[in-house]
């Protein structure tokens, strides 16, 4: 089995921070941690090539570096790509993650890296990759590389990978239902008693904590502001012309309200099956408050109402998808409107 190994300038022996601008160098055979890796992988595995690149060069030229690394790995006929371990080196972690993800996606061979959970490379690539938890102690290199080899062997042999705590990788956040012996009721009672007694307990789902969204600067003069309405309540013209799915919507629509003062019930429908839609069907202004916004427009309280409202269905939507929909909507409106009213259900 042929292995290609990626290292930064420090672990590749080029030098410290002063050499972080070094471009990609190719060495045949194993170098530094690669020798430990070769040993840990055992018989039949050979590090055929070591790619060394400065951290600054890597993150500043990521696209170009990816293309070159992919070429190298392809021409080396590699069966496995390993990057790092990167410990808490942030730029190294980001580059290692990006290269592993590219190799895995483009070449279809396993790719493994290692870093501390706080390394920014983890946030970026944990869902796609097996990233071994390296801890921050560089002196533990041998142990960390052994764990990387363990995961690598399983991936190469296409053996099932166990839980993060058993295998030593950082949780990828992928959920799998499993049959267990005890009822949910019994598990609930155990958990709440442990919690109340301040004993350790393990929640079956992790608590998701989202970073706060910074508030944009306030609108200075509403009487000159252009206002748009965006809703995830699924209001669409009759016939749902864009075929927005009723749940887990992957698209959004934008619908003209030019020359309309009031949304009439008979002209709209709701592409959303997660709430009691009768009130909205009766009077769509309850979801997209066009009637009052037109009044405010006429009274000069707001400058102008944007001539379209944006709509999608907010039901059962994976967050990754929601983020994309939000970005796309923001792109359409950014620089065009001064403020957005978001209505939900």
């Amino acid at each position: 089995m042929r292995v290609v190994h990626y290292l930064n300038q420090f672990f590749g022996g080029v030098g410290g921070e002063e050499k972080a601008g070094t471009s990609l160098e190719v060495h045949s055979g194993a170098l530094g941690p690669g020798r430990v890796l070769e040993q840990a992988l055992g018989e039949g595995f050979q590090v055929v090539q070591t790619l060394v690149c400065g951290d600054n060069y890597a993150v500043e030229n990521m696209d170009e570096l990816s293309v070159r690394v992919l070429e190298m790995v392809r021409s080396a006929k590699a069966d496995l790509f390993v990057a790092g371990p990167c410990f808490n080196a942030g730029r190294y972690g980001v580059a290692a993650g990006a290269l592993c993800a590219a190799v895995q996606a483009e070449l279809g061979i396993p790719a493994v890296t290692a870093m501390v959970p706080e390394n920014p490379g983890v946030d970026l690539y944990r869902q796609e990759l097996y990233i071994v938890d390296s801890g921050s102690n560089v002196a533990a290199m041998r142990d960390v590389v052994a764990r990387m080899a363990h995961i690598s062997l399983k991936l190469v042999r296409q053996e099932p990978i166990g839980r993060p705590s058993e295998e030593g990788y950082i949780s990828r956040g992928i959920l799998r239902d499993e049959l267990v012996e005890r009822t949910a009721a019994a598990r609930m009672a155990d958990m709440v008693l442990a919690k109340a007694n301040e004993e350790p307990f393990e929640s079956e789902l992790p608590v998701t904590v989202f970073p706060p969204v910074p508030a944009p600067p306030p609108v200075r003069d509403m009487s000159r502001a252009i206002i748009a309405v965006v809703t995830d309540g699924g209001l669409v013209p009759l016939g749902n012309p864009d075929h927005i799915p009723l749940s887990a919507a992957t698209i959004w629509g934008s619908y003209s309200v030019a020359g309309i003062d009031n949304l009439e019930g008979g002209n709209y429908e709701v592409a959303h099956r997660g709430y009691d839609t009768r009130h909205v069907l009766e009077d769509p202004n309850r979801l997209v408050p066009l009637d009052v916004l037109r009044e405010l427009e006429r009274a000069g309280v707001i400058g102008k109402l944007y001539e379209e409202f944006l709509s999608t269905s907010g039901l059962g939507n994976p967050l990754g998808n929601s983020r994309r929909l939000g970005r796309e909507m923001a792109q359409k409106l950014k620089g065009v409107v001064d403020a957005v009213i978001l209505t939900s259900t």
Binding site: R172, T183, A184, R187, K195, V207, D276
Partner: protein, 421 residues
């Protein structure tokens, strides 16, 4: 309050010339029961079938599953507010045909993909319903019957048949009895034990409700604010499933409520003090949500004096969020909580799974969703509301845990959990 369940085990179910309990074999006079159910003029015909453990059978779409139970004469009312007068449920003696079920099908469901009963294979082994003897009732409504009236007829048929069957056991000596006796929040002499309460949703108003819908003591729960219930009331017919029931709940697991039974067991074992329960509904409007969550948490604190609270939800996303908010308020008031959630992550990513973002609501049990699927073949017997539905069921190649009644049960019976990889 003291409830005695007189348990009569059922190990066989068959049609016969009279309805009786022959040892542990339940014999049913099919024609007598059919005529009883057809007293409801909204039904044109009723098919009755039996489905037993180990059979290669598939049944759907399920309206509801109940355990046959009948009150001992003079000790209360059967399903008060639906069948019987307003007598507080949860007292006296109730006869139970343990090991059997009344399973009512809904021919009017407009879609494939509803709940089903799977008796054989891995799916049958994974659901507690796979071990029961089911009397399957397939009511057919008269032409032109409004949907809500048909649903009301299904509900009446379900409770009528449940009581009819269990009356075969009344005046017979039960094999065993179970006594459920709780003093309630005023209980004394249990110093040092944590006081536990249960807050359970019994409906979600995001899909409205029907004027003639029976959920809590016959009420449709419109405008309901949370109410304290004695745990025995759940077990004894005060609560039945709502019509919006394409989720993992059935009346059977109100009658055998896993959380209530678990808390009873631990109360009796001296592990905690079970102080009571609260029934609530998930709201459709923001102000209703705020009000219901606030009232439920306050009842747990000030009426029940709870230290710990176990919460379950009814239905999908909005109820999930309501449960989370209620738990958060409980935590804020100094009570420790655990919540049971269903699968909500369409992309199987942990970040999409929770519909709330409260750091203090950090004890979460997962009852499963679509993550488990079984390959299935054509079963030997299929029962459904219509021939088209029967064909659709017969040709299924795969069923997900969330469709098979009892597997990913949200009332606490689920033996599905989740691991984050």
């Amino acid at each position: 309050m003291r409830l005695t369940l007189a348990l009569h085990p059922v190990t066989g179910l068959e049609f016969a010339d009279a309805t009786r309990l022959d040892g542990t074999r339940l014999q049913v006079d099919r024609e007598e029961l059919r005529q009883l159910l057809l007293k409801d003029r909204r039904l044109q015909s009723v098919d009755l079938e039996t489905v037993c453990p180990g059979e290669s059978s598939r049944v759907g779409d399920i309206f509801d599953i109940l355990e046959p139970r009948a009150k001992e004469p003079g000790s209360g009312a059967d399903f008060p507010g639906i069948l019987g007068p307003y007598v507080l449920a949860g007292q006296g003696t109730t006869h139970v045909l343990r090991g059997s079920a009344v399973t009512v099908l809904d021919e009017g469901l407009p879609r494939a993909g509803g709940k089903l009963l799977e008796m054989g294979g891995e799916a049958g082994a994974a659901t507690p319903y796979g071990a029961l003897h089911h009397l399957v009732i397939i009511p057919h409504g008269v032409p032109g019957l409004p949907r809500h009236a048909f649903q009301n007829a299904l509900r009446l048929a379900s409770v009528t048949a449940s009581v009819y069957l269990a009356r075969a056991a009344v005046r017979r000596v039960p094999a065993t009895i179970e006594v459920f006796d709780l003093e309630g929040p005023q209980v004394g002499g249990r110093e040092g034990l944590l006081r536990a309460a249960f807050i359970g949703q019994i409906h979600g108003h995001q899909h409205g409700g029907e004027a003639d819908e029976h959920i809590l003591y016959g009420s449709n729960t419109q405008g309901m604010i949370p109410v304290p219930l004695h745990p025995n009331e759940w077990l004894d017919g005060a609560v039945v499933l709502s019509y919006w029931n394409n989720h993992n709940e059935e009346t059977y697991f109100y009658q055998n409520h896993p959380v209530i039974l678990e808390l009873y067991r631990r109360h009796q074992a001296g592990e905690l003090t079970f102080v009571g329960s609260i029934a609530t509904v998930a709201a459709s409007l923001e102000e209703e949500r705020d009000r219901n969550c606030m009232v439920a948490a306050h009842l747990a604190k000030w009426t029940l004096g709870a230290d710990v609270v176990l919460l379950t939800k009814y239905g999908g996303g909005a109820p999930h969020a309501d449960m989370g908010l209620t738990a958060r308020l409980c935590e804020t008031m100094g009570m420790r909580t655990v919540v049971a959630v269903t699968g909500s992550a369409g992309d199987s990513q942990a970040e999409s799974a929770l519909l709330f973002n409260y750091p203090e609501v950090d004890a979460i049990v997962h009852v499963g969703g679509n993550g488990i699927k079984w390959a299935v073949g054509r079963p030997e017997r299929v029962f459904a509301g219509t021939p088209e539905a029967a064909e659709a069921l017969a040709t299924l190649r795969e069923v997900s845990a969330s469709r098979v009644c009892g597997v990913a049960n949200a009332q606490g019976a689920s033996k599905v959990s989740i691991t984050v990889y």
